[in-house]
Each structure stands twice: as C-alpha cells, then as structure tokens.
C-alpha cells in the first residue's frame, strides 16, 4: 500500500545546521498494516510522515501509495490518498467553522469543490451517526464552532474526519501526546476502532513504548534517519518494553563505538 524507496532528506544542507533527517530510507507497508513508529527525538519519525504527506519535496528516492507514484505531488494533491491527525489538536480542524462544516470539508477530501452546497441535508444525517460513535455528545452540537471544543474533542473529531473519506493511508503523528492520560487512552482506543472498522493501512508515531507494543501488527524503530528495527506479527506480540529498551541501548552502543573509532 505504501512504498518508501531510498528516500533521503537533508535540512539546511551545506550550513552549520545541516541535518540529515532521512538517510536512504526504505519501508514497505502491505494493505491493512498498522505500524507503530518509535525512536528518540530527531530520529526522523515525523520527518518520514511529513515526507509521505508531502509537506516538502524529498531530496531523492520515491514514494508510492497504492501503486501511484506521489513523489512529485504537492501536499494538497496527495491529500485524496491520505488521512492525517497531528500532534497539536489545534492543527487538524478549522476553529472558526462549525463541526458539521469541518466534517463536510473532510468529506470532500480529494473531490472537486464546486458550487454545490458546502453541507447537504443527507450529509448531516451521516455526520450525526458518525459523531454518535465518539460518545462525546458532539452530535447535538453540530453547528457549534470547533474552536469551542476541548483538545481531546478536537482530536477525536480530527480522527473521524481523517477516516470519513476512506484514505489509502492514515498517518497519526503523536496524536495523543498533547492530551491528558485519560483522554489520550480514549483517543487511542478510538484510533484502533477506526483503523479496524475501516481496514485502514496506518502509521502511528508514539513516544510511549507500551502503546507502541499494544497497538498495530508491526513496529519499527528509527534512529538517525534510518529504520533500525522492524518487527511484525507473532514476534511483535511477544515483545516487551525491556526488549525495546535493550535494543535501543544496543543502537546507542554502536554509536559510541563509531564515535570512539572516529576519535581514535
């Protein structure tokens, strides 16, 4: 469903701030894969998701979604294939617009926006049904401005919007990091439900190793712009936090070695 082929991206090349964010990255997702992505700060997790979403062009390599090469497409052109939820709950919705208007915007993702009504009567019924599944009472506030909602409510709404027009790929970029633990757990559970019910292919970045192990069928660990660990299926189910931490230390150890080689 997703093929990342030899993708590299360097920020601020040729300057003192040069940062090799992605280094010859390769990743292939099958349809229905739900991958959790872990790694330290600056490992390239968000950069990978942004490369797939098309926030900026990559330096080299190609990105293929469902057989379609999207490397040369701008963010808004790829949007028809991709649903996204951001770390910042404020980023995924339009605060000055009503809940139903936000849903209607998402419902038209990848479609031509013409001079038909922005929200139709039939859609409202659909949105009411969908909002009910969130269990937040939003179905009774459909004409409220989204800016009035809490961070958790906005994040739940963004999730709903991301899946409203079934995407080929769902990208979750630490989407529970800004929420309190109880809300985070609820949003995470909702993410699981939405992915499973729609049979979505998804990638989820998280800093919580427990969550990374508990969710999805595959886990990858990134470091310095590369994937250093890729475990799936039965093997993933048996993983423990200790295993991951050990692996993480191993990688850090390798780094120390290279450092010492360089310094000697």
């Amino acid at each position: 469903m997703l093929d990342i082929n030899h993708v590299s991206k360097t920020f601020n090349p040729g300057t003192i701030n040069e940062k090799k964010a992605l280094v010859n990255l390769n990743l292939h997702l099958k349809e229905g894969d739900f991958v959790t992505v872990i790694g330290g700060n600056g490992a390239g997790k968000s950069t990978m998701l942004n490369a797939v979403a098309g926030v900026w062009p990559v330096d080299s390599g190609s990105i293929v979604i469902d057989g379609e090469d999207v490397t040369g497409l701008a963010e808004y052109q790829r949007a028809r294939l991709i649903g996204r939820v951001f770390q910042d709950p404020m980023m995924g919705t339009a605060p000055n617009m009503q809940i139903e208007e936000n849903l209607a915007l998402a419902y038209r993702r990848g479609k031509k926006r013409g001079l038909g009504w922005g929200v139709t009567k039939a859609e409202r019924t659909l949105y009411r049904e969908k909002l009910k599944t969130l269990g937040l009472g939003l179905e009774d506030r459909m004409t409220s401005k989204v800016g009035l909602l809490s961070g958790g409510q906005r994040q739940a709404l963004t999730l709903l919007m991301a899946a409203l027009q079934k995407p080929k790929l769902l990208l979750l970029d630490e989407h529970t990091a800004a929420l309190d633990p109880a809300t985070a757990a609820k949003v995470l559970e909702l993410s699981d439900t939405i992915v499973q019910e729609n049979g979505l292919t998804a990638m989820m970045i998280t800093h919580n190793m427990k969550d990374a192990i508990a969710h999805g069928n595959r886990i990858i660990m990134m470091n310095e712009g590369r994937i250093i660990l890729d475990i799936e299926g039965e093997e993933k189910k048996k993983l423990t936090k200790a295993d991951l931490l050990q692996k993480f230390a191993e990688v850090a150890g390798v780094q120390e070695e290279t450092d010492s080689v360089l310094l000697s």
């Binding site: 979403a53 963010e75 808004y76 052109q77 949007a79 028809r80 991709i82 996204r84 951001f86 404020m90 980023m91 995924g92 919705t93 339009a94 605060p95 000055n96 617009m97 208007e101 209607a104 915007l105 998402a106 038209r108 993702r109 990848g110 479609k111 926006r113 013409g114 001079l115 038909g116 009504w117 922005g118 929200v119 919007m161």
Partner: protein, 325 residues
C-alpha cells in the same frame, strides 16, 4: 466665539437634512466593507490593494459612461477590472512569495499609474467628471432617495450572492483556508488558489463600490480611494460590534453581512455629525484612524485584562503579602 454662540450657530435642521445623503454614501461604502470583510476576516489577509482598486472602479465606470456605455455595463467592466487587480495581488503573493500586505501595497501603488491612464489615455488625467443631466447614472447625489433605494437593492443582491457563495463547497474552502491553512492543505484544498480567488472577489466588490461612488459624486478622482481600507475596516468593525451587541448569542452569516452595510451607514452618519459640529474636517482621517485603532485593539486588551504577566505579577505580590502577614 463663546460656547453658547457656537451651539446657537448649529442648525439641527441642517443635520437632519444631511442624514439621507450620509445614508446613501454609507450604503455604497458598505458594499466596499463587504469586500474588505472577505479578505480581512474570512481569509485573514489585510489587503491594501483596495485603495487602488476602489479608484480603478470609479475611473473605469466614469470613463466608459462618458464613451456612451450604459451605466450598468460600465459597472460590470469595473467589477472585472477589480477582479484583475485582486488577481495581481494574489499572484504576487502566492506565485512570487511576496508577503500579502506588501503584495497589496505594490498593486495599489501600480494602480495609481493605471488609474491615471484609464481616465486620460496615454497622457493620463487625475480626474474626470460625469454630468448626471447628460448621462443616465444609476445613482446620484442629486436624487438621494433614489440613490438609497438603488444602493439598498444592490446591497441586498450582493449579500444574497455572498451568503450563497460562502455556503458552497468552494466558498467553504476559502473560509477554511483563512481559518486553518495547514488543515486545509491536509484536506486537499489548494490554499494558494483559494487566496487568489478570495482576493479577486474582494477587489471586484471594492471596484463596484468605487464605480457607484463615482456616479454618486459625479466624478472620479485619482485620490478617491486613498485610505479606503481604513474606512472599509471602520465599517466592518462598527458593523460587527453592533451585530454582537444585538445578537449576544451569535448571529448567522447573512445577518453579519447585513450589519457590515449598516456599519458603513453608521460611519457616514457619524462623519455627517462631525462635519455638522464644524469640527475641523482636516482631522477627520486622524479621528477615523484613532477609532479603528481602538476597536482593533479592544479584543487584544480584553484578553490582556483577563490574563497578562502584569496581572499575574500583581496577584502573586498580593498573595505573598497575605501569607507573610
């Protein structure tokens, strides 16, 4: 002159006589305010093109009427001219990466020359008058009641069209672009196209307003649009403030648009009163700018009053005082 003598010299009859004229002008500026609202509130762009495109609308309208073109057709061409002006600003901003406010200033600056040429061909002309006795104008200060009716009908039609358009898929996409650009891109909206479209529609309305104003006053002048952004903003702010005062629980989009035109009327009635009081008219712009600045600052100051470092610091001091006492 003593104060008593000054008040005695003011004639209330003159004030009342002047009101219909203020209303007519206010409606025409209200149309301009609708244009400003699209960029300033819906797109979140302060577009300074309007100072030029307002004059362009007037210049095109008067020039075409003098050439024998019917007034309504002249206005249609003025609308297209405004559309093009907005398009230029939009392309400078989105295709060449020039900050929106500078892009508007550049277009406005260039339009000064363009407007001179529109009115006077290659040689250029700074103004052009059109005699309402010789040409069939849609509105004129000679027939104020008719001007008010025509203006009100035009405002009603435009408000209806804007209400419809910003409820469509495309109009919603423009509003989303102004509300959250990152989200809009993620939903597949080409935000650059939406900005260009919004700027074009806004300036089309401003040019229409300029075309009506030129007919109303019987001439177009190279400086007629100077500072129009401030007057447009004043109308928007007055209209919104009144709207919020009347509808505390929030108002529909159409009500808001109607109040923008009312904002234009209130502004011109106030200007009428200021002139009637024989306050120095040279200071009118200073007065208007001060009023707009105050109203633009109010939301910020209200927020500051609720939460600011100074407040927090004071509260902390007070708390310390009580605990140590």
């Amino acid at each position: 002159m003593s104060i008593a003598a000054y008040f005695a010299s003011l004639n209330p009859a003159n004030l009342i006589k002047g009101i219909p004229g203020s209303v007519a002008q206010g409606i025409v500026w209200g149309l301009m305010a609708l244009g400003v609202y699209i960029t300033f509130r819906l797109l979140d762009i302060a577009d300074l093109t309007v100072d030029g495109s307002f004059t362009t609308g007037g210049a095109v309208t008067v020039t075409l009427i003098l050439m024998g073109c019917p007034a309504w057709a002249a206005l249609l061409v003025a609308i297209v001219a405004g559309l093009l002006a907005g398009l230029v600003t939009g392309l400078l901003h989105t295709k060449l990466g020039i900050p929106a406010i500078l892009a508007g200033i550049l277009t406005q600056f260039a339009l000064y020359s363009v407007n001179l040429h529109i009115m006077g061909g290659w040689k250029g002309a700074a103004n052009k008058s059109v005699n309402p006795d010789q040409y069939a104008l849609l509105i004129s200060l000679r027939h104020v009641p008719k001007a008010i009716i025509v203006g009100a009908v035009a405002a009603a039609v435009i408000i209806a069209v804007l209400y419809w358009y910003f409820g469509t898929e495309q109009g919603s996409a423009i509003r989303a672009t102004g509300s959250n650009p990152a989200m809009s891109r993620a939903q597949g909206i080409n935000i650059n196209s939406m900005k260009v479209l919004g700027l074009a529609i806004s300036n089309a309305l401003v040019a229409l307003s300029g075309g009506l104003m030129a007919q109303y006053q019987g001439f177009s002048d190279i400086n007629m649009g100077r500072g129009s952004i401030v007057i447009g903003l004043a109308a928007v702010i007055i209209g919104e403030t009144l709207c919020d005062a009347f509808f505390r629980k929030g108002s529909s989009f159409s009500t808001r648009l109607i109040f923008l035109v009312i904002g234009g009327i209130v502004y011109y009635v106030v200007v009428g009163v200021v002139l009637w009081l024989r306050l120095p008219s040279n200071d009118l712009k200073l007065f208007t700018a001060a009023v707009v600045a105050v109203f633009l600052a109010v939301p910020y100051l209200q927020k500051q009053a609720k939460s600011s470092f100074r407040q927090a610091g004071k509260a902390a001091l007070k708390e310390e005082g009580t605990t140590h006492a």
